[in-house]
């Protein structure tokens, strides 16, 4: 599904990714762990095409397509979704209008008619239940006045609406209490199919207790330095990253 080769990227003049290689097959969930500033968020932003990041070398292919020639919205239409670490507030744009614009833009890209209003609202209702998100939030502006937990649930709700094939969860567990974490993780699990793949970025084992990864990678200083099974995450939880750095040295 996703193949990243020798990826280098920078923000401003600062090189952050220094040769990342990563292959994700259909249906696989990969966890990405690493120290602060290692480049985890940069990698996810580069995959979704954030214009603030510049790719200087390497390639990313997604289902055979050259992702780096596509703009942000084209990548979204192709089925890539990122749950933001800090979801953005958009005052004056209601959740309902925002979602309708997103769903219909995707349908248009697929050559489908826009959804009828009644059908759209019906789908909204069904998907809301998945992540236990209140109807009253749908009439508010996007993320405005949402609590930290509501914002993260809202990200998973949007994921449910857009049915992506590659989901990137960028520190979805940060700022969540135990119950909210469970609701968000269970919501995500309900959306998984044999075809959907995921990259889960996290600092903690707890999220991985709910979302079982097939593969765990450790990113340090812009490179993937270690790859293992779920047991690797467990080991990091207990021993930190120092032992990996020592191995490298």
């Amino acid at each position: 599904m996703l193949e990243i080769k020798n990826l280098h990227a920078k923000v401003g003049d600062k090189e952050i990714l220094k040769g990342v290689n990563l292959t994700i097959r259909d249906g696989e969930t990969h966890a990405l762990m690493g120290t602060n500033g290692a480049g985890k968020s940069t990698l996810s932003n580069v995959i979704v095409g954030n214009p603030s990041y510049e790719v200087t070398e390497g390639s990313i292919t997604f289902n055979g397509k050259d992702l780096l020639t596509m703009n942000t919205e084209e990548r979204a239409h192709a089925g890539i979704f990122m749950s933001f670490q800090a979801p953005i507030e958009i005052p004056g744009v209601s959740m309902t209008n925002f979602m309708r614009a997103a769903v219909n833009a995707r349908r248009e890209a697929q050559g489908k008619e826009p959804l009828k209003s009644t059908d759209f609202l019906k789908i909204m209702r069904e998907k809301r239940k998945l992540v236990e998100i209140d109807q009253k939030l749908m009439n508010r502006s996007v993320n405005e006045g949402f609590s930290g937990g509501e914002r993260k649930r809202n990200e998973i709700f949007q994921m449910a609406m857009l049915e992506p094939t590659l989901c990137i969860l960028d520190e979805t567990d940060s700022g969540l209490d135990v119950d909210a974490l469970r609701i968000v993780a269970e919501g995500f699990n309900k959306l998984r199919t044999a075809q959907t793949s995921a990259i889960v970025i996290t600092h903690y084992q707890r999220l991985l207790d709910y979302i079982r990864p097939d593969v765990v990678h450790v990113l340090i200083d812009g490179k993937i330095v270690k790859t293992g099974t779920a047991a690797l995450a467990q080991q990091i939880e207990e021993q930190g990253f120092d032992w990996i750095k020592e191995e490298l040295a």
Binding site: T72, A76, I88, I90, F98
Partner: protein, 405 residues
């Protein structure tokens, strides 16, 4: 030769004709107004209230003056001033600033005037609609004069629209004098949907007595060059006034709003909210002054000007001003100039919303706050649609216009 010279010559040529087509009350102040104009000429940009508009350049083209009679469709409350049901001499050219060059020129050249009169305690349910159509086969100057008299306890909504029917250069001067007697309630909406060939100079003067509620909404959807002045005189206690503005500029459009609210008596409230979205090479300017006189205790006043610069070539000038001579008041003023929220744009695009659509949604959301405040619901709904169309570039001519189709 500066531009005023041709208007001075014009007056000498046509003043007799104008007088013959006009009425006593208008003629009685005409020569004096002309004399003021002749003496002062057009204001330069050194004149404080004309800093942001080049008046001389706007009046430089050789316009023909329109002297065709005003057509007033028979409807309740609207009159040609000649057929006024009341004596208009205590109102005509009484509150307008005689030393403003635009007002002086308008008073000298205007031959016809419209009166909206709402009698005592009359509550008019349906809005009073005044549509102004600019028509002409050559560059034309229109001088428009409107008098609004709200008697004691009268209530009304007045909706005025400026439209251009022909793709032609038009120059409009407008003076509106509004008199709200004690207890009157007035919602006055002005919408401009003209063309890039149009220049508009509008001066609105509002007098409010006791216990009045006055709202003035100025909406510039499409234009060429526009300069709107609005002066409010709060002269009776416990009155409230709201001035709102919604400005959308693109291309090389120029929009300048200039307001003055004079709190002359205690216990009044004033609120202003002006929002601008300027794109391409458009220029937006807002200068608003709140003047609280010595005895106007317990005044509350809020002035807000918020601007969105959607391109790097667009320009915004903003100048909120407070001048307070009383010591027990609550006044605030502020302005902001921002650019497109890049983080929000990226967020929307990641969800698949194309960039142009995302920009439209953000601009629309920004303007929504002003449109939300429009009380008359059918107009509010219509403006939501029009503002969105404007941002989508689908409103390049007045769409209600029967003549454009």
């Amino acid at each position: 030769m500066r531009s005023e010279q041709q208007y001075i010559e014009l007056y000498h040529e046509v003043s007799d004709l104008i007088k013959s087509r006009s009425c006593e009350v208008m003629n009685s102040v005409r020569d004096e107004a002309f004399e003021t104009f002749r003496r002062m000429g057009f204001p330069t940009r050194k004149v404080e209230r004309y800093r942001y508009t080049d008046v001389d350049a706007a009046f430089a083209p050789n316009y023909g003056i329109s002297l065709s009679p005003l057509t007033v469709k028979p409807s309740a409350y609207i009159y040609n001033i000649e057929n006024a049901p009341i004596d208009v001499s205590p109102y005509y050219h009484q509150i307008a600033d005689p030393l403003d060059a635009i007002t002086a020129l308008n008073t000298a050249l205007v031959h016809d005037a419209l009166l909206v009169h709402v009698p005592k305690n009359q509550q008019v349910a349906d809005p009073i609609v005044v549509d102004n159509w600019l028509r002409g086969t050559a560059a034309t100057m229109m001088n428009r004069r409107i008098l609004i008299v709200m008697e004691q306890g009268a209530e009304a909504t007045i909706i005025m629209g400026d439209h251009a029917a022909d793709k032609q250069q038009f120059l409009t001067t407008q003076v509106i004098e509004v008199y709200c007697h004690d207890g009157a309630r007035l919602d006055l909406y002005e919408t401009e949907e003209t063309t890039p060939l149009c220049s508009r100079f509008s001066n609105v003067y509002i007098h409010a007595g006791r216990d009045c509620s006055v709202k003035h909404n100025s909406i510039t959807l499409f234009n060429g060059q526009t300069r709107n002045l609005c002066d409010v005189y709060l002269r009776g206690e416990h009155s409230e006034v709201t001035l709102n503005g919604c400005v959308i500029g693109g291309g090389t459009q120029h929009i300048d709003n200039n307001t003055l609210i004079r709190h002359e008596v205690p216990n009044c409230a004033s609120t202003q909210l002006y929002k601008y979205v300027v794109d391409d090479k458009a220029v937006g300017a807002f200068a608003g002054k709140i003047l609280v006189e010595k005895d106007a205790q317990k005044t509350t006043s809020q002035e807000t000007n918020a601007n969105l610069c959607a391109s790097t070539d667009a320009r915004i000038y903003t100048q909120p001003m407070l001048e307070i001579y009383a010591d027990d008041v609550k006044c605030a003023h502020g302005s902001t100039v921002g650019v497109m929220d890049e983080a929000a744009l990226f967020y929307m695009r990641q969800r698949g919303i194309p960039e142009t659509e995302a920009r439209t949604l953000l601009k629309n959301a920004f303007m929504g706050q002003v449109i939300d405040q429009i009380k008359f619901e059918p107009l509010r709904q219509k403006l939501y649609v029009k503002v969105e169309k404007r941002f989508r570039g689908e409103l390049d001519k007045c769409e209600d216009c029967r003549l454009c189709k």
